[in-house]
């Protein structure tokens, strides 16, 4: 199975606990930790809008930049000043959600296997966002800008790629050139274009990427940021003077934390640190771990009708439709892109030929996981169901990445854990209820809005509500089915819900 390598680490437990608290506060559909990437996009757009406005008033030049920013901040405080503050705080918030996003994906083990692509393409994004942010701090040409500029040049000078020290261009007011301000102004407009480009690359191999957080969350965040902008507006720290060293500076620790380090370590050591961290992040997906991915999905053309359900359901664009190659009368066939497949099995759950109502013992589905064939799952389920005794007999379907349902097994409860709950074809539920006369089917998996494989919980809900193919047939008794989403941190709640379900089934039987 595709268990993450840090399944029960204390960091994961702590994260799940924190997310559980936020689920209570916001509800699963608004939990900010489930929208860290999307919030990053949101802050990026705030930066674009506020930045375009500020650009309209910004002047490039040694004597022009500082007064133009002061004009925006003070004369136009009601709009320009607010825009400047929103620009500053959105930039900071972007770093916060970016770091949290990275940490969360790391803790949950969502960076290995086919997910390496999104992980690795996130690294240049970090560099670009930091470059753009530090570049932005030069623009007001106040004392902070002076400090950040000179420190950056001193840091860059360590690299043996320049013909002479860059710092010499900032040694005094006299040698400073107006073109520097044109350059930083241009780069502050250009680098975000590269950020946008890499954001596109970053989500390229993801189906249905969530690039917009829920509207309520956006409203909440923007309102909070607006309040902060009014309560603590972003201000300059006095005009830069190359003859006076900025001594006591209010630095933005989100972006400029590296500069104090330059006063303690050598420039080479700080370069070694940032390049070392980048390289470590870059190789992380391939470092040895307990992570084992089961063999990727395979298409069995004989049973593939080219319906495209698997393509629609794959969360990683790992299944594509191509012209039919076997001469059958269907126009297209499904083709798996192995490098993108995370072995979640969602495609197998979406295939109409995965129905257990087929007569052959070792039937083959149009697309399935070679190590977990659908006919094998049916056999295993039948075997388990045959052993059930007592009343309120329940078949539990769960997910390897959520609560451990193996502990729920009892005389009246059979369990089947899948790589993802959405690997379960809805027809299995009907099959268990109708053919094997179990009293109920209990479906569980990762917390709502937090599927380890991204879309599994949502697809399962939609299939069961007959809103998505393959649908659970209308004649199935929905009163005998219960869904409950639970992570490993919610096991107690899961047990209680299962008992409550069984009690309901007993009541129904009476």
């Amino acid at each position: 199975m595709t268990a993450p390598d840090l399944t029960e680490s204390s960091a994961r437990k702590a994260l799940l606990r924190l997310e559980g608290i936020l689920n209570k506060i916001f509800g699963n559909d608004l939990n900010p930790l489930y929208y860290l990437g999307a919030l990053g996009f949101c802050f990026f757009w705030v930066l674009v809008v506020s930045g375009v406005y500020l650009y309209g008033f910004y002047r490039t030049g040694i004597e022009l930049s500082y007064p133009s920013v002061e004009y925006i901040t003070n004369e136009q405080w009601y709009l320009g000043g607010v825009m400047r503050s929103l620009h500053r705080y959105a930039a900071d918030a972007l770093v916060v959600v970016m770091v949290l996003h990275l940490l969360r994906e790391f803790i949950l083990g969502r960076y290995r296997g086919a997910r390496w692509f999104s992980w690795v393409t996130g690294i240049p994004l970090i560099w670009l966002i930091y470059t753009s942010g530090i570049n932005g701090y030069w623009m007001p040409w106040d004392k902070l800008a002076q400090y950040a500029t000179v420190a950056t040049m001193e840091w860059l000078d360590w690299l043996p790629i320049f013909s002479g020290p860059l710092s010499q261009s900032f040694i005094s007011q006299e040698v400073l050139n107006d073109r520097f301000f044109s350059l930083i102004s241009f780069s502050h407009a250009t680098i975000p274009l590269f950020v946008l480009f890499f954001l596109w690359i970053h989500i390229l191999r993801i189906s249905y990427p969530v690039v917009n957080p829920r509207r309520k969350l956006v409203v909440g965040v923007l309102l909070a940021m607006l309040v902060l902008a009014l309560v603590k507006p972003a201000l300059s720290q006095g005009p830069a003077d190359m003859g006076i060293e900025p001594r006591n500076i209010g630095i933005d620790w989100f972006y400029l934390f590296i500069y104090p380090l330059l006063d303690v370590w050598s420039a080479g050591q700080v370069w070694a640190l940032v390049i070392g961290i980048s390289l470590l992040l870059g190789v992380l997906p391939w470092l040895p771990s307990r992570f084992k991915q089961i063999p990727v999905a395979e298409v069995n053309l004989k049973y593939c009708s080219g319906c495209g359900f698997c393509v629609a359901d794959c969360p990683y664009e790992a299944v594509v439709m191509k012209p039919r190659s076997d001469g059958m009368h269907f126009t297209e066939e499904a083709v798996v892109v192995p490098d993108r497949c995370v072995s979640c099995g969602i495609c197998a759950g979406s295939c109409p030929s995965s129905t257990p109502f087929r007569s052959e013992a070792n039937y083959v589905s149009g697309i399935e996981m070679p190590s977990l064939p659908i006919s094998g799952l049916r056999a295993a389920m039948m075997n388990d169901l045959a052993k059930l005794t007592g009343d309120a007999r329940v078949m539990v379907f769960g997910c390897d990445n959520a609560a451990d349902i193996g502990k729920l097994r009892s005389a009246g409860v059979a369990v089947m854990s899948l790589p993802c709950t959405a690997m379960l074809p809805p027809s299995f539920i009907e099959y268990a209820l109708r053919e094997h006369q179990v009293d109920g089917v209990f479906i569980t998996g990762c917390r709502e809005s937090d599927c380890y494989h991204r879309m599994g919980g949502l697809w399962t809900e939609q299939r069961l509500a007959a809103k998505r193919e393959p649908r659970l047939r209308g004649r199935t008794e929905h009163g005998r089915i219960r869904q409950f989403w639970a992570s490993s941190a919610d096991f107690r709640g899961l047990t209680q819900e299962l008992e409550s379900f069984r009690a309901t089934l007993r009541d129904q039987a009476e």
């Binding site: 209570k24 705080y89 909070a224 902060l228 190359m242 003859g243 630095i251 933005d252």
Partner: protein
Amino acid sequence: MVKPLQYISQGLFYALFMGVIGYFSTLPPYTHLQPDETLIKLSFRHAGEIAGACRERTPEEMAKLPVYQRKGGTKVCPRGRSDVIVELELDGKQLYHEILRPTGLAHSSNSNIYRRIPVKAGVHTLKGRLSDRSDGVFNYTHEETITLAAGRIMVIDFKAATGGFIFRNKNVTLGQ
């Protein structure tokens, strides 16, 4: 969780999130230079003397040269330049010493230096010495009594054409 409590908790969460952002966007302040310190920045580009002596080519050597190269005359000099050695002394104690290699693949270009040197503020005697000769003898020297005010930047430049070291001390200009 009941709705009103949920809304209050959400408000607190947003306040905490923005509080963290608002705080760390400028605080805690960073003391880049101690209150009693000032900064000397040593910064210049200077090409050392040609390393080695020039010589006359022999007639045989001239004959071997392509015709267009003979127009340059018979004199041939090495491309490489000497290291530039720079030293600073503050109140008789060595403050800085560096041997600057010429840049360029053939070590034929400028020797560059940029260094920031924090020192205690006050009145000091500052002496600069520089050698651009292959024998390492200091052929440029400059000494001045300077007043360094806290937080100010004094730039030490070097231009051979104007006689060598230039101490640009804004402290003096401002009368501080």
